[in-house]
Amino acid sequence: MYVWIWHRLPGTWQTKTATALGLFAAIAAILWYVVFPWVEPKVQFDHGVVDRPAPSGSATPG
């Protein structure tokens, strides 16, 4: 997979490295600022509140 991507990147090895690092940073940023905040309440393991489970089955806040 990574070899395949590397071969598709244009330019000399310097530009390839720079593009690869840029791609890596972009993916990390999307994960950190978009994907993780969205996933976090769905996998929440840190509930602090005592609460009866909501009738609708929605997650308890906490």
């Binding site: 993780f36 309440p41 602090g48 906490g62």
Partner: protein, 214 residues
């Protein structure tokens, strides 16, 4: 065949790295958000406290209500207690159950907080012993509560938030504090509950001077 196996291996390594990044986000990234909210709400609250008192003052949901300090966790341990316990409130810091008593009042002042994520305000609650102090700073006074009990209960045990915990019909006569957080750490299986009782109330300015003089 070989490329397929290599591809699988690369996918596994990638997934592992993403999971590691996610754990970093949970344990550290979320705390940065809380820290920002705490600084903002703390400044706002102190500014309010310095301003002249409004007779109809009532803290809005999501705003700072009081300051909690627990000397056992170190001199620098302090968090702004937020009014409300919705998910977005608890992301900003420990939250006060709306409708339960306010600090110093007769009844039960109930505060809930995260144990491992979002700055983990109640991370070390398990270390509290009977007699340990929980200080609650409000506009005029510092309320000194002393820990009386610790319980592990089911997540649905709302009876701990009653004015007299576990006794729905009894009229409160004591001034209590109740802290709730999840238990064990990194799990939502149970809740840890700390009970405390008001020991004394000092004027806040005097309490601050006393602390500075030590």
């Amino acid at each position: 065949m070989r490329t397929v196996i290599r591809g699988m291996g690369e996918l596994c390594i990638t997934a592992g790295l993403i999971v590691m990044l996610f754990v970093t986000y949970e344990l550290w990234g979320t705390g940065r958000y809380t820290q920002g909210a705490q600084d903002r709400l703390g400044d706002e609250m102190l500014k309010n406290w310095r301003a002249p008192k409004v007779t109809t003052e009532r803290v809005k949901l999501g705003k700072g209500l009081a300051m909690i300090r627990i000397p056992r966790f170190g001199k620098d341990y302090h968090f702004v207690v937020i009014e409300g316990v919705s998910r977005s409130d608890l992301r900003k810091g420990p939250g006060h159950y709306p409708g339960t008593a306010l600090p110093g009042q007769i009844g039960n002042f109930v505060v809930s907080g995260h144990r491992t994520t979002y700055s983990a305000p109640f991370n070390r609650l398990g270390e509290l012993d009977r007699g340990d102090k929980i200080l609650i700073d409000t506009r005029d006074e510092q309320y000194v509560y002393k820990v009386t009990d610790r319980r592990i209960v089911k997540p649905s045990e709302t009876a701990v938030t009653l004015p007299v915990p576990f006794h729905a019909k009894r009229r409160p006569t004591e001034r209590m504090i109740t802290l709730t957080t999840c238990h064990p750490k990194y799990s939502a299986a149970k809740r840890m509950i700390i009970f405390g009782e008001l020991a004394e109330a000092l004027p806040r300015a005097a309490a601050a001077q006393q602390a500075a003089g030590k």
